[in-house]
């Protein structure tokens, strides 16, 4: 039975350049998964960017030393497919009756597709948005699951004019993504424009009711003597039956250094 709560997927990832992988996402997550970090697959840094993974495998010099950044191919010269990468991992999850599972990406740059056990799900464009995919019905019955994600760079990675400048040729401003990546007066360009699964990946397991996006606001009166905590929360019934719920809120003072809860 899967434990309620969030399980981070932050280890055991592999990566490969998309142009070097023959298999499709469906094949990678059913008949022909990668066996391990053997070419073209390599150990991946997730969360992280494509460059972070290439650096981890010493396939590029560290761009933060000397003029190494000049030795790394810029996406404007290589084309977007050079920095379009597959990421692959496996995870174990076995649901109990009336449990539900979601696959969550807290941030990818810039768009992608996720394949889980042969099922494709789109990860729409945008660097600063979360993705939560209901995977309850596509988990493998034996609990062993194969996940492959292909991540595409920003649509407008732009090119760096010979004279450099703030934001390069400004093409990146057409997308909803970090703009510093084309270089600024204090920063050299980032060659992959920060493409990748750049933030947390997790699996969350809930019962029939899922809580999301609570909002907490405090209001004050009488010179801060009287305070009110206002709380709203979304409850989603993932099941096919009405749910009689008890919603509980508990507020406890944070413990000072010298106080311990026994």
């Amino acid at each position: 039975m899967a434990t309620l709560g969030k399980m981070k997927l932050d280890s055991g990832w592999l990566a490969a350049r998309s142009t070097e992988v023959e298999a499709t996402g469906v094949q990678l997550t059913t008949t022909t998964p990668p066996s391990g970090p053997s070419s073209p697959w390599m150990e991946a840094a997730v969360p992280g960017t494509v460059l972070g993974t290439l650096l981890k495998n010493k396939l590029v010099p560290d761009p933060f030393y000397g003029l190494n950044n000049e030795a790394i191919l810029d996406i404007a010269d290589s084309g977007r497919e050079y920095y379009t990468f597959w990421f692959f991992t496996t995870f174990e999850t076995k649901l109990m009756e009336n449990q539900h599972a979601a696959l969550n990406f807290r941030g990818i740059n810039y768009s992608g597709k996720a394949y889980l056990n042969g099922h494709e799900r789109i990860l729409p464009k945008g660097m600063f948005r979360r993705h939560s995919l209901d995977i309850t019905d596509i988990l493998n019955p034996d609990g062993k699951n194969l996940l492959a994600v292909i991540i595409y760079p920003p649509d407008h990675p732009g090119a760096i004019p010979p004279q450099g400048g703030q934001g390069g040729d400004h093409e990146i401003g057409k997308d909803v993504a970090a703009q510093y990546v084309e270089g600024w007066d204090w920063m050299t360009p980032i060659r992959d424009r920060n493409t990748g699964i750049w933030d947390e990946v997790s699996i969350s397991i809930t019962g029939p009711i899922k809580l999301s996006d609570p909002h907490l606001v405090s209001s004050f009166f009488d010179n801060y003597k009287r305070a009110y905590l206002h709380t709203t929360v979304d409850l989603e019934n993932k099941s096919s039956a009405p749910a009689e719920c008890t919603l509980t809120i508990q507020v406890s003072a944070g413990l000072d250094e010298e106080i311990f809860l026994l």
């Binding site: 093409e171 004050f220 009166f221 719920c245």
Partner: protein, 233 residues
């Protein structure tokens, strides 16, 4: 200190936006910026139990009771910040991001942010050409008392004031920008350190984006009502 439960039913396949009755606190420990007092935080846990199943989901957060206001000071023309009614002399620093390859671990954030607090800063300004910073960034700003000025993803250079002038109407997909903004606001809005949302760096976002952001971020009418009728409770 406070433990309250409420009963409700949710029909199959539906999503309910539920507002709990306000919880009353007498003289709560207030959260203060670095150098002005303690950064008192409360553990808030919300859980939902379903009849016939048991606990279905839970969520927790470290919350700070504080009131942050900022207005343009007529005398100086600058932005005047108040926390819990007290004026704050802002000692701030620019923050682009911690690492150009986005190796953004909690440990790294803790080290970076404690460093700024040790330098006696009390504000970090997250520049519009960088990231909407991550919950771990805000968590340590909550702990170390660094107010955060968070800009959305508009910069003068890339959005209408650069050389060459480009993208005068901002990003191509305004709906995508606003969807990302909404989701980012939901991700970060409960952090005590979040002091100010700013449309962009050295540039006002395009009119439609700017007015939508103003709308998303205006104070809920309920709180205006509470504020103006402070004896209402």
């Amino acid at each position: 200190e406070h433990h309250h439960s409420y009963e409700l039913s949710v029909t199959p396949g539906s999503l309910v936006h539920y507002t709990l009755p306000p919880l009353f606190f007498y003289k709560p420990n207030l959260w203060w910026p670095n150098g002005m007092g303690k950064q008192s935080l409360y553990n808030i846990e919300i859980s939902v139990d379903v009849k016939g199943f048991g606990e279905s989901d839970s969520w927790s957060h470290q919350f700070g009771f504080r009131k942050i206001e900022s207005t343009i000071d007529q005398a100086t023309g600058g932005r005047l910040f108040r926390v819990n009614g007290q004026r704050v002399f802002i000692r701030g620093g620019n923050w682009i991001l911690s690492d150009g390859l986005l190796r953004l671990s909690a440990k790294r954030y803790m080290t970076d942010i404690k460093f700024h607090a040790d330098m006696n800063f009390n504000m970090l300004r997250c520049w519009g050409g960088g990231l909407a910073e991550r919950p771990e960034f805000y968590h340590y700003c909550d702990i170390y008392g660094l107010l955060v000025w968070q800009e959305f993803w508009i910069t003068g250079d890339c959005d209408g004031r650069g050389i060459p002038v480009s993208n005068p109407n901002g990003p191509l997909d305004h709906n995508l920008f606003l969807l990302c903004a909404q989701d980012t606001i939901k991700l970060l809005r409960n952090h005590a350190s979040l002091a100010l949302w700013v449309g962009g760096n050295e540039q006002t976002p395009p009119k439609d984006i700017n007015s939508a952001l103003m709308n998303y971020l205006k104070l809920h009418p309920l709180f205006k009502f509470y504020d103006e009728n402070s004896n209402v409770c």
